[in-house]
Amino acid sequence: MTASHEIENRLRATAEKLLREKKVDLFLGYEKASLPFRTTPLLLTAAEEAGRLVWNSFCTVNLAVYLPRLFKAPADAREAKSATPPPKVGIVLKGCDARSVVALIQERQVPRENLVLVGIGCPGVVDAQKAEKTLGEHEALGAGEDAQGSIRAVVEDGTEITLYRQEVLADACLECRSPMPAICDLVLGGPVEAKETDAARRRAAEFESKPPDARWARFQEMISKCIRCNACRQACPMCYCKECLLDQTRPRLIGAGTDISDVTIYHLARALHTAGRCTECGACVRACPMGIDTRLLTRKLSLEAEDLYGYRAGQSADAIPLLSAFAMDDPQDFLTEPSHLPAASSSAQEAEQARRAK
């Protein structure tokens, strides 16, 4: 693993060069945020400001979320007339972020030829909420990481507290199987290997081992905290719909408030809409101001996609998206079959069944 400050230096030099040589109009990276354990996205256009870029374990935002809006097709002819040509964009990508870019390319939301993808092997990012919880009653006033990757926090009285990395990494990172970007134009730093590969499966199995009533109770308890702020949706690179099904008013699909039934449908429908598209970056979880583990649902769907169809989102830009494709022999043992033979069987029906038997 290459130390993060070394990668940071290379990142700044790379961005500076790309901007200076006009290979890109815009470079998407991270800069220091005002609070510890966080960074904030930086949309860089001036080469001389490349020094603002940072790379560390707090670079949590999945920057791919900004791509669809940069390449949004004009809404109408009038807009098309005044539209500027699509920009060339450089972007920093972790393994999961790169999968999002792949999925966006698959879904024709971003043109590959306009992108310069700067990949970084990712050793996982810190979940700020977890880190803050770990400090208990203290508040960090500053945070950083040492060469071993441990997270150091400076609290009110100036004491430095070391946080065990595994304890503060985002859940999605603990479950990550592909920390290396699957697609990129250049890689900064050395390769990173995934530690555990079945963590997600174990977590899903653990939940699944509970009886249905307990699962339902847990699910309801968790989402009862939801305030419908839409942060999970807005932070997701795959939620780029011009008008979200859950927002539409003609007709209104679900109520606007936090009635538990509406919240339930919100989360189920949102998860289903990311099925086969979710690249498991965990942006939704980290965006949630209420600490809801939205990946409870998306994790399961990703596993189903893999088990049923051998499909993992964001693996190949040439692949047909999971739900746009099919195979004749896709499993269908979930279908309802009659428990007895049809009561009145006509000759046409027999012929039909005979045809089917062949």
Partner: protein, 336 residues
């Protein structure tokens, strides 16, 4: 004004007594260790270790979902409004201050809002002064402070072994006198110590320049900076929904067959649908205009209308922004 004193060990008795009058909401830790204002039942142990709650207590006055009335066989039926007094214990001064701001909107208009008015009338707010502000706090720059009780009925100040209680409104006086057998007078030295603690807290809070924001923002309306500061905004409503002063709402009908309800629900100016006309026209079509509206509303329009910013410096929007945006930085960049 005299301060009353009660020991931390007697606090449960006081809360139990208050529960005889009506529901009492106080900070309880949930399974994740977060303090949440929860309705107390007999044996709950309250926690005073929190700095503030994730959600602002505005929902006691302006619930996220409020049934305005019900439809029954084509006729409207008004819901029964609460008639029992409720106590909310442990509200931080910033959030109490925010209630005072909300009063300006819902009580000082030409038409009072009957739902808000009743909730406000029936809610006794006991604020708890801060001794350990967070680095994202900036209440002192927007007219508040860690020991400011404005908006609350009673202010509680923490000492090692005791809690000092100061009634700020007639409602607060009534509340304290209903439990006066549990209280004793606080010694002047105790009051001084509590005030020193608040002062120490005040000194920890870094100032943000907000004075004169209305004037400066009126000059900055056409600034190109709005486009750049709004660039990374995702357009979620986290900041608004957590904000103790944000109060915009939507009204929708939920009906099945002939019965249902008209509900008002929180809404947010960051959403494109907020201003979208039926015709398709949108007066605030991009994040640039919507961000500007948010800042302008809080730091200019509110000052012009109500003489105060609609921001109490609680810092929730800073802590919870999914992309780490900081309203203090934005104000600075825009030249406030």
């Amino acid at each position: 004004m005299t301060e009353k004193r009660i020991s931390h060990t007697d606090l449960p008795r006081l809360l139990a007594r208050l529960r005889e009058r009506g529901p009492v909401h106080a900070p309880l830790e949930d399974e994740t260790g977060d303090a949440v204002l929860t309705e107390l039942s007999s044996d709950d142990l309250i926690s005073l270790r929190y700095r503030n709650f994730r959600l602002s207590p505005k929902s006691f006055l302006l619930p996220q979902n409020q049934v305005l009335f019900r439809f029954q066989d084509g006729k409207e039926e008004e819901p029964a409004l609460p008639d029992r007094e409720m106590v909310v214990f442990g509200v931080r001064p910033c959030d109490a201050k925010a209630m005072q701001a909300l009063d300006k909107v819902f009580l000082d208009g030409d038409q009072n809002d009957p739902y808000y008015a009743r909730a406000r009338e029936k809610t006794v707010v006991i604020a708890l002064a801060c001794t350990r502000p967070l680095s994202s706090c900036f209440c002192t720059s927007v007219g508040g402070g860690p020991g400011d009780g404005a908006g609350a009925d009673v202010l509680a100040l923490e000492l090692d072994a005791d809690l000092l209680l100061r009634a700020l409104t007639p409602g607060g006086e009534r509340l304290l006198s209903s439990v006066r057998d549990l209280l004793c007078d606080a010694a002047p030295s105790a009051v001084k110590e509590a005030e020193d603690r608040v002062r120490a807290a005040e000194e920890q809070i870094a100032p943000v320049k907000v004075d004169g924001s209305a004037q400066r923002l009126s000059n900055a309306y056409d600034s190109p900076l709005w486009a750049s500061v709004s660039q990374k905004c995702l357009g979620c409503g986290t900041c608004s929904f957590l904000c103790p002063t944000c109060h915009c709402f939507d009204i929708t009908d939920e009906v099945r067959g002939g019965t249902g309800r008209r509900v008002r629900t929180w809404d947010c100016c960051a959403y494109p649908l907020f201003t979208l006309h039926g015709s398709g026209h949108n007066p605030r079509p991009t994040p640039k205009e919507r961000w500007r509206q948010r800042i302008m509303h809080k730091f200019r329009y509110a000052i012009e209308n109500f003489g105060r910013p609609f921001c109490v410096g609680c810092g929730r929007c800073i802590r919870s922004c999914p992309v780490g945006m900081d309203i203090r930085t934005v104000l600075k960049e825009i030249g406030v």
